[in-house]
């Protein structure tokens, strides 16, 4: 019986089907926990899925490449999904046309602050160059951030995790920070949330105000574009 089991495992562990299926199952498990926890940002479904999968691969002694041979079918969809981000960006753009120049200027400052402050703080605390470059795009939505990390010499997978952590931090402490400084304009609150903490901040903004959600969603897309263009230039000066 055990031998039979082992033979099946040896066969499946080299097949793409297994990597693909466990990815979907782990993500569903993450979504289940997240919805049971009333969408608390601390229970981020992606983070849960990543922890489950890393644990599983380590327990079974499976290397990442073997896993990725299956999971790459999911990964491939990132490209077209990134292009598709133009659609919500355009819809939100239509809604806020008159305020657009102001939003764009705010996001440019926000984008530069996000990258430079993260690099500066981590550098002072002795982080390696690899970590600095992976940290730089951490406020940008994950699909774009990973592309940026790759383009500037960071580690895309490390960036993906740092992006999620940034989103969680922004969603958890962002509203408190904005309250502390008595910022009551939903438009500014939304733009700040979307710029600093991308989709997770946008989801948080949408829970409390439709106006904030729309501005956050626009800020998320624009900050992705702005950082992709700005960051290589900023890094060119720094490194």
């Amino acid at each position: 019986m055990t031998e039979e089991f082992y033979r099946i495992w040896v066969y499946l562990s080299t097949e793409p089907l297994l990597g693909l299926t466990v990815t979907l199952v782990a993500y569903q498990a993450g979504m289940w926990v997240y919805s049971k926890g009333k969408l608390n940002p601390l229970l981020n479904p992606v983070l849960i899925a990543v922890v489950i999968l890393v644990g599983l691969l380590m327990l079974t002694g499976t290397d990442y490449q073997t896993y990725f041979d299956g999971a790459k079918f999911v990964h491939f969809m990132l490209g077209p999904a990134t292009v598709a981000l133009a659609v919500p960006l355009y819809s939100q753009f239509q809604k806020v046309k008159s305020t657009f120049p102001v939003i764009l200027a705010s996001i440019l400052f926000g984008s530069a602050t996000a990258a430079l402050s993260a690099i500066g703080i981590a550098w002072v605390m002795g982080a390696s160059e690899q970590t600095l470059l992976s940290l730089a795009p951490k406020s940008v939505t994950a699909p774009i951030a990973m592309g940026i990390a790759e383009a500037v010499g960071g580690v895309p997978s490390l960036t993906a995790v740092l992006v999620i952590l940034t989103g969680i931090i922004g969603a958890v402490i962002g509203p408190g920070v904005l309250n502390l400084f008595r910022i009551k304009d939903w438009r500014a609150r939304g733009v700040a949330g979307g710029t600093a903490s991308h989709g997770i901040g946008t989801a948080r903004a949408l829970q409390v105000s439709e106006v904030a959600g729309a501005f956050a969603s626009l800020a998320m897309g624009l900050n992705g574009l702005a950082t992709a263009i700005l960051l290589p230039i900023l890094l060119g000066w720094l490194f």
């Binding site: 782990a26 993500y27 899925a49 990543v50 890393v54 691969l57 990442y64 999911v74 990964h75 969809m77 990132l78 490209g79 077209p80 999904a81 990134t82 292009v83 598709a84 981000l85 133009a86 659609v87 960006l89 819809s91 008159s98 102001v102 926000g110 996000a114 690099i119 703080i121 981590a122 605390m125 390696s128 690899q130 970590t131 951490k138 406020s139 994950a142 699909p143 774009i144 790759e150 997978s157 993906a160 995790v161 740092l162 940034t166 931090i169 922004g170 962002g174 910022i183 009551k184 304009d185 438009r187 733009v191 700040a192 949330g193 710029t195 600093a196 903490s197 106006v211 897309g221 574009l225």
Partner: protein, 125 residues
Amino acid sequence: MTLGFITVLLVYQLVGEIISTGLGLPLPGPVVGMGLLFLSLIIKGGLPEGLKNTAKGLLSHLSLLFVPAGVGVMMHLHLLANEWQAITVALIGSTVLTILVTAGVMIGLTRLTGDSPSAEEIKND
């Protein structure tokens, strides 16, 4: 989700990749594709219903799509283990600063341009 609009997205991605690699831009190809699609929609002046639905379908589980890449962090756990203090302080400090600078510039500029918030745009507590 229609095959036609999935093809449109792939074509924009492909053109984005070609422009990015061809010109040696540090921009990821899909981001160039996204920028081009955004510009096309502005020039066209409208959003086709089919494209809207295709994008919605694809983006409804956007976060699933970066799970496989995220799992790759297992190869860099030593970085997280050795530098977690610097990373934690940088993430928290930078997030607070980014929120304050972005909201601050936005508040300053809306006042400067006289674009004051309407009643529904103000948080009342």
